[in-house]
């Protein structure tokens, strides 16, 4: 290990905007900021609360009375945050998922998505019923399905239906690795792999998908919000069944329908997430069941920016910490409000970005990895010495940056924030250098041990647990002890409990594929499905979308204002 020179400090702009005076000073003034009044958003909250109280007659947000018995926040400077990679400054409150419709929509778009194979159904129709399947019949079926999926009736008389404006985010497209077949399907229904992906990635994806035909289905946001992720496959299967009956003039009650139903509900279904055991008690398509490899495929930045695997991985960190820390662990599992600040540290103020690009410079300088031209060819053999060297240097550099810039330490005021960020940069650097997700995870765990010993502190009780035993399971693949990174997930033993890890783990998995310019990390089907430009949330730019949500420029779906009197 040896420090390398890197003149550019990506976090400086944020620090200089956030803090007055020299960002390298060790001293400052406190207790004179005017408490909550320094924050426009907190003031807005107080004014809004007054109106709510008048309307409903019940007290609400009253920080001047309720916070610490009359001592409000804001004795130190209440900071704004720059969403990394966007140049947009926002208030911390605007990054809580409740206040950010883009964050909600990202999760909605995952939960309401299901992928269903068409080949099984086509075989049933052809072999059992003697029906002819042609591009024309497929196009007709897709027209019917795009009528039925949002809630239109196709078979019965006198049915209730859903209002199209309330379910306007619901639709179905198809994709295949067979370019000839894709060409014969109406453009409005096709996810064209060759157009959506760079050539190398498209080639990889087409080869993996082959001649099979898949439906990428997004049920209405409002349905998955009212019900749950387990509803997605059921809602979709019901409409698929009815649409086949209509499109192919089947008898509604004939036994062959059961085959179609079985294919749509079970045999041909790809859920975004597996169901969870009873102690976590969630159905499929809920966040705890998403494998890291699948999540890495949902994020699309490497498709848009194939020559920057670091940036693409950082977007996975942002999306992953938002989903796994803020929504999954923060709300589903704990019910807390404060988890936001663990997560935002990893995608604000360009701090993790700077640490990660330091790692990129280091692997280029020492190991000649041409990370800006991703390919499998120049990857470093993942020996323990290599992992220790890269992760060790990235960790030391990151710790030194926090020390040299006390305002950055103040920015990331909690140990878990710093630990997640430092270890993520270390793991991503190893992942990009070696193209091996488990080596990347191993780099993460070395970083945690070095961090803890250097500063004699890490995160908190439970946070530290998985990191102190992580070295041992990072290369184990024995059941209940370890797994290759792609197949790990939020419900993996030891990972199920604490913030500041899961999004970063997913990104480490992603980095090991983005650095090879792979078409996908674990599932070509999921990769293609989320490349869809019609999705309300742009999975190629998660952090930009969060920033838009924060400054109130993001338009989410699933709204029901149409059906209510205006306030």
């Amino acid at each position: 290990m040896a420090k390398i020179e890197r003149a550019q400090k990506l976090f400086l702009k944020a620090l200089k905007t956030k803090f007055e005076g020299d960002v390298a000073d060790t001293k400052t003034g406190f207790y004179n900021f005017g408490g909550l009044n320094q924050s426009p958003r907190k003031k807005e909250f107080m004014e809004a609360s007054k109106k709510v109280e008048l309307r409903r007659g019940i007290s609400m947000y009253d920080p001047n009375r309720c916070h610490l018995g009359g001592l409000p926040m804001g004795q130190r400077q209440l900071m704004t945050y720059e969403v990394s990679g966007t140049g947009t400054f926002v208030e911390g409150d605007d990054l809580h998922f409740v206040n950010n419709p883009a964050m909600q929509q990202m999760w909605d778009d995952i939960r309401r998505t299901i992928i269903v194979n068409m080949d099984l159904a086509h075989q049933t129709l052809q072999k059992r019923l003697g029906k002819e399947i042609t591009p024309e019949t497929i196009n007709e079926y897709l027209h019917i399905l795009n009528h039925a999926m949002p809630g239109g009736a196709v078979v019965q008389e006198h049915m209730v239906e859903t209002h199209p404006s309330v379910v306007d985010d619901c639709y179905v497209k198809v994709f295949t690795g067979d370019s000839e077949l894709a060409d014969q399907i109406e453009k409005q229904f096709v996810l064209d792999v060759n157009k959506l992906f760079p050539a190398k990635q498209a080639e990889h994806l087409n080869e993996a998908v082959g001649k099979s035909l898949w439906q990428a289905i997004h049920i209405p946001t409002i349905v998955s919000r009212t019900c749950d992720g387990g509803t997605t496959s059921r809602w979709s299967a019901m409409q698929i069944g009815m649409s086949f009956i209509t499109a192919y003039r089947m008898c509604a009650g004939e036994a062959a329908v059961a085959d179609l139903s079985f294919a749509a509900k079970h045999a041909g279904v790809i859920q975004m997430a597996s169901h969870l055991p009873a102690r976590r008690a969630r159905g499929p398509n809920e966040p705890g069941g998403i494998m890291f490899g699948h999540f890495a495929d949902m994020v699309q930045t490497n498709r848009k920016y194939p020559n920057d695997p670091a940036r693409a991985s950082l977007e996975v960190v942002g999306a992953g910490t938002m989903l796994f820390d803020q929504i999954w662990l923060g709300s589903y599992m704990s019910g807390g409000v404060g988890f936001t600040q663990y997560a935002t540290a990893a995608y604000t103020d360009n701090i993790l970005d700077e640490f990660t690009y330091y790692g990129m410079d280091y692997i280029k300088d020492k190991y000649k990895v041409d990370w800006k031209n991703p390919s499998p060819k120049d990857k470093v053999k993942p020996t323990q010495d290599v992992v220790n060297d890269i992760a060790g240097e990235v960790t030391l550099n990151a710790m030194e940056q926090y020390e040299q810039f006390p305002t950055m330490m103040e920015d990331h005021f909690g140990g878990s924030q710093r630990a997640g960020v430092i270890a993520a940069a270390s793991g991503l650097s190893v992942g990009v250098a070696t193209a091996n997700s488990n080596a990347g995870l191993n780099g993460w765990y070395l970083s945690m041990l070095m961090h803890k010993e250097g500063w004699s502190r890490l995160g908190f009780f439970g946070y530290d647990l998985q990191d102190q035993c992580g070295s041992t399971n990072s290369l184990s693949v024995r059941p209940d002890e370890g797994c290759i990174g792609e197949y790990r997930g939020p419900n993996y033993p030891n990972y199920a409990m604490n913030v500041g890890h899961q999004g970063e783990y997913a990104a480490i998995v992603a980095s090991s594929h983005y650095t090879r310019n792979d078409g996908f990390c674990l599932s070509p089907l999921i990769k293609i499905t989320f490349a869809d430009p019609s999705l309300p949330f742009d999975f190629a730019e998660p952090r930009k979308e969060f920033a838009k949500g924060a400054i109130r420029e993001f338009v989410a779906c699933g709204e029901r204002t149409l059906l209510m009197p205006a306030r």
Binding site: M1, K3, D25, T26, K27, T28, G29, F30, Y31, L68, L71, M73, Q75, R76, Q384, N388, G392, L396, M399, E400, E403, Q404, P406, T407, M409, E410, H412, F413, G414, G415, S416, R418, A419, N442, Y445, L446, L449, M450, K452, E453, G454, W455, S456, R457, L458, G459, F460, F461, D464, S471, T472, N473, S474, L475, S476, E481, G482
Partner: protein, 252 residues
């Protein structure tokens, strides 16, 4: 061959300070003399002079079961008397505070019995029977483990360990439990933030040179650089490598 604890690797002053704090054969350096009564005030668990509230009758009165473990383990004074379990919690500034969260925990585990420490990034708590706690607290406050300005005794709202220092050198505390007045630090609130009837003087802040020479945290700007202690880093990497290899194939 009898095991001789080494208390950790490293050739830097930080490593040496860590070993000295942990090693119970090294006497902690007494620097100040905060009285027992004042410590009780800062802790805020009982009023000075008040009898210790109890969680159970004294062990001698409650009839102990015939248990081999109880025969081996001598109860502490607090356990014998049936005291409640109470706590003291510290926030240590990252600007060269003499002790730091994990360091505190390791030190306490080597030096004291009947304790339950908890370690976080911005605070470290130790819980034990109340009269034992008061004795331990006297050590933790009156010796070289403490600095009045860079260490806070805080039960809740501990925010401050990673922040820049105030212009007067004090660590940020939104509750301002202690203030610098006349060159010494005085607690005006107990550790949970309840105002005290009288100010408790915990002494003069140590100067920067002393803090740098006595801290147990690496810091490249105000103290000793972590990178400069190659032995320390090599040792951690060795531990990590051995754990990794054993997890992969536990046959070596």
């Amino acid at each position: 061959m009898a095991y001789t604890p080494q208390y950790g690797p490293g050739q830097s002053i930080v490593a040496e300070n860590r070993r000295k704090q942990m090693n119970p054969n090294v006497k902690l350096e007494k620097i100040r003399n905060v009285t027992d009564e004042d410590i009780v005030l800062i802790l805020g668990h009982r009023a000075p002079g008040q009898a210790y509230p109890t969680a159970h009758p004294p062990l001698a009165e409650q009839g102990e079961p015939d248990c081999p473990i109880r025969k081996i383990v001598t109860p502490t004074d607090g356990a014998k008397a049936g005291d409640r379990v109470r706590y003291i919690q510290f926030a240590d500034s990252m600007f060269n505070a003499p002790s730091q969260p994990y360091q505190r925990t390791y030190t306490e585990c080597y030096r004291y019995r009947g304790i339950d420490p908890g370690t976080l990034s911005g605070r470290q708590i130790v819980e034990c029977r109340e009269r034992d706690l008061e004795k331990i607290s006297a050590d933790l406050i009156n010796t070289n483990l403490f600095d009045p300005a860079r260490v806070g005794i805080r039960g809740a709202t501990v925010h401050g360990h990673s922040l820049r220092l105030a212009e007067d050198g004090m660590m940020f505390d939104m509750l301002q439990r202690c203030i610098l007045e006349g060159g010494t630090v005085k607690y005006v609130k107990d550790q949970i933030g309840t105002p005290l009837d009288k100010k408790v003087d915990v002494g003069k802040p140590m100067d920067d040179a002393w803090l740098k020479a006595n801290t147990t945290m690496f810091h490249s700007l105000v103290g000793t650089s972590y990178r400069s202690d190659a032995e320390y880093i090599e040792y951690i990497q060795r531990i990590h490598s051995l754990r990794t290899k054993y997890g992969f194939m536990p046959v070596e």
